[in-house]
Symmetry: D2
Subunit: 337 residues, 4 copies
Amino acid sequence: MIIVCKPNATKAEIEQVIERIESLGLKPHVSEGVERTIIGAIGDEAPLRVQPLELMTGVDKVLPIMKPYKLVSRDFKKENTVIGVGGAEIGGKRLAVMAGPCAVENQASLLRIAREVKEAGAAFLRGGAFKPRTSPYSFQGLGKEGLEFMREAKKETGLQLVTELMDPRELDLVVEYTDVIQIGARNMQNFKLLQEVGSVGKPVLLKRGMAANIKDLLLSAEYVVSGGNSEVIFCERGIRTFETYTRNTLDLAAVPIIKKESHLPVIVDPSHGVGLWDLVPPMAMAAVAAGADGLMIEVHTSPEEAFSDGAQSLKPGRFASMMKDLEKIAAVLGRSI
Amino acid sequence: MIIVCKPNATKAEIEQVIERIESLGLKPHVSEGVERTIIGAIGDEAPLRVQPLELMTGVDKVLPIMKPYKLVSRDFKKENTVIGVGGAEIGGKRLAVMAGPCAVENQASLLRIAREVKEAGAAFLRGGAFKPRTSPYSFQGLGKEGLEFMREAKKETGLQLVTELMDPRELDLVVEYTDVIQIGARNMQNFKLLQEVGSVGKPVLLKRGMAANIKDLLLSAEYVVSGGNSEVIFCERGIRTFETYTRNTLDLAAVPIIKKESHLPVIVDPSHGVGLWDLVPPMAMAAVAAGADGLMIEVHTSPEEAFSDGAQSLKPGRFASMMKDLEKIAAVLGRSI
Amino acid sequence: MIIVCKPNATKAEIEQVIERIESLGLKPHVSEGVERTIIGAIGDEAPLRVQPLELMTGVDKVLPIMKPYKLVSRDFKKENTVIGVGGAEIGGKRLAVMAGPCAVENQASLLRIAREVKEAGAAFLRGGAFKPRTSPYSFQGLGKEGLEFMREAKKETGLQLVTELMDPRELDLVVEYTDVIQIGARNMQNFKLLQEVGSVGKPVLLKRGMAANIKDLLLSAEYVVSGGNSEVIFCERGIRTFETYTRNTLDLAAVPIIKKESHLPVIVDPSHGVGLWDLVPPMAMAAVAAGADGLMIEVHTSPEEAFSDGAQSLKPGRFASMMKDLEKIAAVLGRSI
Amino acid sequence: MIIVCKPNATKAEIEQVIERIESLGLKPHVSEGVERTIIGAIGDEAPLRVQPLELMTGVDKVLPIMKPYKLVSRDFKKENTVIGVGGAEIGGKRLAVMAGPCAVENQASLLRIAREVKEAGAAFLRGGAFKPRTSPYSFQGLGKEGLEFMREAKKETGLQLVTELMDPRELDLVVEYTDVIQIGARNMQNFKLLQEVGSVGKPVLLKRGMAANIKDLLLSAEYVVSGGNSEVIFCERGIRTFETYTRNTLDLAAVPIIKKESHLPVIVDPSHGVGLWDLVPPMAMAAVAAGADGLMIEVHTSPEEAFSDGAQSLKPGRFASMMKDLEKIAAVLGRSI
């Protein structure tokens, strides 16, 4: 950390800063300029983040130089982390495609969709049994019954399951059924929930919050990994901006940035990212071209009758043709689907 | 809800839309223009929000005309809701000032701060025992011990307590100690938590999320009120924008908007809104002038040693002088402090 | 346009609305519901946009149903517009790649870069002679001398020229030298400048403003086209959001949206979109996969000595290898480079 | 400027950085830590901003420590700048209130409004003769005729005039008529226009752009002041965010920030800031309480017939009653109106 003193800081004020740095177990490195003194604090920056040196008289600015996350960072582990899930994997050569309805609605419908997405090449079935809904009057999900339907669909198709956990009290239940635990965008900074999923042995799909920058997202993953669970998959799903044409603004630059900053895999959810089904295929193509390790796509056999997110769901036929195009893009990147 | 058909929609397509509207228990009202047909759907819009008519062939646009929230709305209840808390109240003539440290750090420090803010005119003591922190390596709060310290401070000063609940499993514990339950910005759309606090008999202070528009905030309150707890206080604390000088962008227009849309009280937290202590007093003045029912202010006796948010905390002396200025602004608005 | 009356609107108030609609040359279509009256106004909506019916007593909401832009819209012209520039074209099968330095710095450097980008497959040379700089103390461009250097580079390489116009008084000068006139992001709503370039016979490259939504961008193009110049090329170059890792947030969904809404071509500038050279290639790949008609890329032989935007400039070698990868992506989309 | 070297930077790489710093006329100050070397560059930072040291091998980060603006900064001039305009002043004890229609529509209407706002206590008449409109089909202003009407209104009422300049070619015309030249939000980074108004002897009202942070705004003012015209008035008028209830998000924290960073006056335009007339009075109150030096308010005698911005215009009666309330808030701050 670098502490820039004010041009008019007194010797005594500078001395106090130095003492504080030393009292926190760091080594000060003083550089006296013509106009002002600059002090480097060598060592672990964490205590300095807590203790706001900015408030000391004589201090003008404090500039951190180290990253606040460790275990998830590329500095900590150079090679890509590949997460195995049943026969499938995330972060390897083959792209992980997770497809299915927004919410699990009933057994027949889920099975129909599962067969279609399996047929088209997906390895994971997504579906919500517990649904975070903006309005208390909207459909809130089938709960445990929905999880049962998902298990049936897995039995028949062999697809790995991805479903959302919203409540720490439902952790055991969700873990019993799912293969990948999804933490939704609205819970990306529900730190209690992050701590809980840090204690289990199932991969965690962590969606980026609507107001979260990439550093925040990496820090939320650090909660999980520092809790003992090193299998985190990032998911870019759009941030909230002034543009209203789309539901969110899909920030695809997050893909190469996360690959640069972290060893963990990153996938993209274009369905929530744009919110309009006809924009999903071009954005899925773009995501793969940008280097994503997979995709999460909403698919429904009758979107016009879906309980939620119908406007952004692809019909199976459109999904299947998109998968064929994605295969070609993947090949250009040296990957498969 | 109004359904605008495409210029080239066929009779059969329009007929299907009409049937769907009727099947959902609504009354269609057809208006055939020269160029296109427009259909009004009279009745409860909720089922139409779930069923995306936009996806039907022949439909161009669907325009909602009713508000998605009910119980919290000014239409539902014309008069202001005033919430009594011990001897104090929120939403009445006297402004509710909640002051104290970001986090409860130790008994002595909390007591010292509590005495100071009481002396300066605050009626509520704020303080976090459970802290939502971006990094897992930051101080996470004292937990139950912190609640004990708060109770002691209340005993001595008579201040009402406000503290944050982060986990549904800690509901009973927090309810036992606090007078007002705070739901933090990061949990504004933690719907399970909202449902829980909807079932208790303590007022809920609901902070606006960093990416939440005002409609979202009202819907989150609707979760609490529809659960049976009608005592919700809104708190504007800034949204996330491209401006980096301040920690957030304090959206003071939210104050008159919430007063217009809802009967529930609204307060402002300028400390988180700006993140820099010297900007807190002018923004507190502005908040009261805009019609806020109260303020939440971070106060610390030694901000430079605070465990969190030191940069935005006022020292007691500055807080006291600000309270004197606020009194004069309040008087202009016909209120007291 | 649809006018939703208040539930308690009187007959007289509704009558006034109807009269106003008729007085503006539109045909009212009244639909009386149980709870409220809804009035459709059939005809040209433009006068109704000027006259705010929202303010009439008895009116609750006014909902526009027509798009505010015409000539640039896909409704107006179904087929893609392909713009010929010298031997090259924009919007056709072959992607238009515009590459070069941010600012023209001197003749030797420009020539060196021009040869390199030509060699790698670009058909256009970009370079700024007039530079919009945030600070008055930054390099402001070489002006006419820079244009001369560009002409020389064109003579030698055959590349078509793209350069920015900032001032209506420099229109003739810039038109004399350049093949495509660039309107920068900061001038996207400089309506006087838009009117000027609407009167000349040179294609206009219109960059999206940092706070402009896609509708605003289309309306700015409408200024140019309604002025008589139908050759406009859109350029997505990132919008301003809370994310600070990148210079801007590249909104690639703009590509398929603009293709859907307009017949005009759209290219992407990943260099400004991300601001960091190592993120440029993955975002260029994504842009092409999303359906962009071309790219604008900053290339410099010694970025560390560039007068501006060095951090986001590719070296020629990296640019050339990226072009090879782009060729393969283009082929998947049925295009060439 | 501080240059943080990479942990693994070689001696030779560090030597190169030092040489570069020296070659730019700065004095390097090297601080060798255990893990990495940090170099301070003492002297004028401007050349280092141009030359991106980040790109040199061995450099990890470059941290600027000086502000990029000078002449407008509080460091440059400690006392508040008070700008005299006819008998009125901006930045002094009395708040500067600028009121009037969005656009000048005709002589009679303008005169009527001018008399009303004068009567209510405004010292300035605002009105647009040249109007920046998002759509080319909207009313673009009366041009010179509008300026004539304003001059007539000044003759009768004694109000000082404020009107917008959009085109450098109209500079002489606008300067001849107006007392304060307004630069609109969309032209805040129209640097050619800023240079032009830097050369005249009339005060410039500089509105904040919709995507401009406060640093950008200060730099735009630096263009004007460095051109020789030191009379700049800042105007906060809202920035673009995801909130759609209001037209923009009024960032009132900009008021105390600008007062802290600059010696120049700052006013607030709540009409554009919120876009809804009933929210204008509370936000005007808040602006004054936050320390603004004045207000710009849209007033129209028949908003429902206004050519533009009717929805955000106050009627004269409402404006007059607001002025009475503002007087009391101003008194609390030790000011008058």
